[in-house]
Symmetry: C2
Subunit: 118 residues, 2 copies
């Protein structure tokens, strides 16, 4: 499939991921979940955050795939979904040309196949 056709939904997927990442509370949730699974009541304590508010943000994170949940008895455990994190990272790298190292080297390479906009 030509790249142009897939670009649209790639952008929309990326937009949804970055939107989920664009809130302080949600970023704090993700930082906590990095340490492992957490149930909602633990997160509520750690974040000093009303339960319904937390629930709202967890749903936002779940909707775009950044977290998954699993229920066990009365508790619901949330954890990071690394596939979605990787998607967010890969869009930065592949679509926007972000690189972890100094920019100079990669840009030199890219300039070889210089593509003009139109």
């Amino acid at each position: 499939m030509p790249k142009a056709l897939t670009q649209g939904s790639r952008i929309l997927d990326a937009r949804d991921l970055y939107h989920a990442l664009s809130d302080e509370t949600r970023l704090r949730i993700l930082c906590l979940l990095r340490q492992g699974e957490r149930c909602v009541c633990e997160l509520t304590d750690d974040l000093c955050c009303a339960q319904s508010r937390l629930s709202f943000h967890l749903r936002t994170l779940k909707n775009c795939g950044l977290v998954t949940d699993r229920s066990e008895g009365r508790w619901i455990y949330y954890k990071l979904n690394h596939d979605a994190l990787r998607k967010a990272l890969m869009f930065l790298r592949e679509d926007l040309g972000a690189d972890a190292e100094s920019h100079a080297a990669t840009e030199r390479a890219r300039r070889a196949d210089n593509g003009n906009c139109r």
Copy 2:
């Protein structure tokens, strides 16, 4: 400086970056700028987007550092700022544990220094 003290502003910086990335128009702008500097009228054409609207989004991108501008005569040229892109990428990698490769390996390593939340 202890990591906890720097965490707050890291999160706020990341939030601002991801907010700028959370809009379809802005992502399209960034994709176009990846190919090199563009002036506003070129972007207006490429995106079929009202000029004032484009100007609004360019300001959003500029405010968080994702693009820089340079004026030349009547034109103002915008280009990507790779330092900001790298910041967005590094937060995903370092603070959230995103990795480009399969997750299994890194997580095995990380589990050694298992940190509990509290």
